[in-house]
Symmetry: C2
Subunit: 198 residues, 2 copies
């Protein structure tokens, strides 16, 4: 398999983390997250959104969307539950991640950590307001729980871990969130864990 990848992208890191924990070998091809001019030529026909990660199977078929790739790789393994309700809850958390969490936390991090500045203070304040709401919701989902769904580590934890554990790079103070902090440590302690910079 070939992974069109970005070393700094949390969305790509999700896929690298699961591939490592599944012990699946793959090739990485780095694409720029700032200069996207080559993407239509490279990713056209593989992923309608022209985003990374894009996974390409050995027979040439392409799959986009980080959380869809996690499902494709993980379903049938210990990383995706078998119970229908738990499966729906995994999807609920992954859609929450892409709608409420990533667009705020990842974008604030991209501005501050990658570009060095936000386009405006107002734009950054709005990303931080909405990002803290997402972190509040995540904290609520983790109080009294070891992991997000079914008491076991799953692709839902991978999906939410990716940008939460680097939220400090977007100006977020995770010290406010004891349940998130304990969960981050439990995710990091999973067998086969790799860091985002590997």
């Amino acid at each position: 398999m070939l992974l069109y990848d970005s070393a700094v992208s949390g969305n790509c890191y999700k896929v690298r983390l699961l591939l490592a924990q599944l012990g699946i070998p793959y090739e990485r091809q780095e694409l720029s997250v700032t200069d996207r001019s080559a993407r239509p030529a490279i990713l056209g026909g593989l992923n309608p959104a022209l985003r990374v990660p894009t996974l390409v199977l050995d027979d040439g078929r392409g799959l986009g969307e980080s959380d869809a790739i996690l499902w494709w790789l993980g379903d049938g393994t210990a990383f995706v539950p078998t119970d229908p309700w738990e499966r729906a809850k995994v999807l609920q958390w992954m859609f929450f991640e892409q709608y409420n969490h990533e667009p705020n936390i990842a974008v604030a991090r991209f501005w501050l950590h990658m570009l060095g500045a936000a386009p405006s203070q107002e734009a950054l304040a709005e990303k931080q307001r909405l990002g803290y709401l997402a972190l509040d919701a995540l904290e609520g989902g983790l109080v009294g729980r070891e992991f997000l769904v079914g008491g076991r580590y799953s692709i839902a934890d991978i999906a939410l871990y990716a940008y939460t554990h680097v939220a400090g790079e977007g100006g977020f103070d995770l010290g406010r969130y004891p349940a998130i902090s304990g969960w981050l440590a439990r995710v990091t302690a999973q067998p086969g864990h790799v860091t985002i910079d590997v």
Copy 2:
């Protein structure tokens, strides 16, 4: 089952459409999409994002995120494929919908159709630029295909149909998109179809 609903929300309409096509009876409880002050009291404990739709089972368990609800209701029926690759492609299109399509097309529609005006011309222009990119990608995914995945109507079509068929209310010109236009007609012709205003 109880559906916390909004009559004008395309995300809620997805769930109403699938419930109608599955012939599943349910209660509807309308929540405001402009005054959200009651949501923590009503949806807290049911859906971490405090959004509609939220589906509540008869035993009290709650599920959020429209596309996770479609999966929960549809898996095991003709509306979700059984082939693993086709299932991953359904998820790819639904994550694309929530990340690239809905935040631009639904928000432009909300501003123009519900509120009567956008907060600024710049904000509307940006939503329309990104919304057209999403429509371009959807058109590309439909050229030469009857439906998005596996040649059959599925929850991926329901997810993308919901806001695409009312994109004109957000100022988008669907006349540019012959593949989308043919697909919209095929979706509308499915047995048990109901409209957004039912």
